[in-house]
Symmetry: C2
């Protein structure tokens, strides 16, 4: 009667699935994702760079005579509005303990970040192309304020790098749906 039998446990006890699959990192704790201090820092960084780029652009006389420069100014205004709104939302979530990691919010962040980053990047590239044309190809930099243009483009690129970071965090979170740790407002209502 010393034979060893395998240990048993009741089927009624649900098996623990937490260890299954890849390591389940809580995205709430990932610095840089929405609703974290890192995420809020990245948002305000985007806002600061975009505001600087906008401020430099509007000091260039006759900037409105070139379509690409107008586009960059409009893109920077849009970037400022989006980043400031998201930064305030992050701040509210941190202070009130609200959770932003649900499918509704994260989908909104992904789409908004992608659209905003594409607009910012296209404005920066178009302005950079014209700046290089004026500076290197035509050598007419004197009256065209190349240094201001270069500064504005550099700030726009930095803003784009920072919003790309936000986009990658949000997209990673969206595609790793099993990391969602709170219900969406629609789920709560329904």
């Amino acid at each position: 009667m010393e034979a060893s039998y395998p240990a048993v446990h009741p089927v009624g006890v649900p098996p623990q699935f937490k260890g299954a699959g890849p390591p389940a990192t809580r995205m709430k704790d990932l610095p840089g994702s929405a609703g974290t201090l890192g995420g809020m820092g990245i948002r305000f960084g985007q806002f600061a760079f975009a505001l600087t780029s906008f401020s430099v652009m509007i000091t260039i006389p006759d900037f409105s005579s070139v379509t690409a420069f107008c586009f960059l100014v409009a893109a920077m205004v849009f970037q400022c509005m989006w980043s400031l709104s998201m930064g305030i939302l992050d701040g509210y979530a941190i202070l009130s303990g609200q959770c932003l990691h649900n499918s509704l919010f994260v989908s909104l962040f992904v789409v908004g970040d992608w659209v905003t980053s594409t607009i910012t990047f296209s404005g920066a590239c178009a302005t950079a192309g014209i700046t290089v044309l004026i500076d290197n190809d035509l050598n007419r930099c004197g009256p065209n304020h190349c240094s201001r243009l270069e500064a504005a483009v550099a700030m726009a690129f930095l803003s784009w790098i920072m919003i790309s970071l936000s986009f990658f965090f949000s997209f990673w979170l969206l595609s790793s749906r099993y990391h969602f740790i709170c219900k969406s407002p629609l789920q709560i209502i329904l």
Copy 2:
């Protein structure tokens, strides 16, 4: 003795984890991901648009006098090389039954697609900015072959849209790591 006891099963039998977490879609079956017919079609689409853009650009006399145009030509060459290589790899995977869905390959696709799409988009935007400057702002379209420039930019944007699709599929696959259905060559060797 009619009392019901919970059914038991040996602990030695590993619990089935396949049903845990979100619905486990096999990414291999997702049209457009690497190693599928859809994925190969997207790759050859990128290649075709990039090749058309390159062909149109090099027919413009003195295109090399503008840095942004040279950059677009270089970007289109890079795009052609990358898309053709990936298309051939997809075709090989389909014909030989090789699996491309492992961490090594998918990471390579994500980085390569992101770099290539960024270079293509920046070249297209810079050229578009200069085309709008010549066409709308300066009204000097006659000797500058605006229609060819516009066609080349449009083809470059179409190529960028298609490589963005490839990037999204690869990034989705990378971030949903539990969908990997084959081992990487390194895992097989080690």
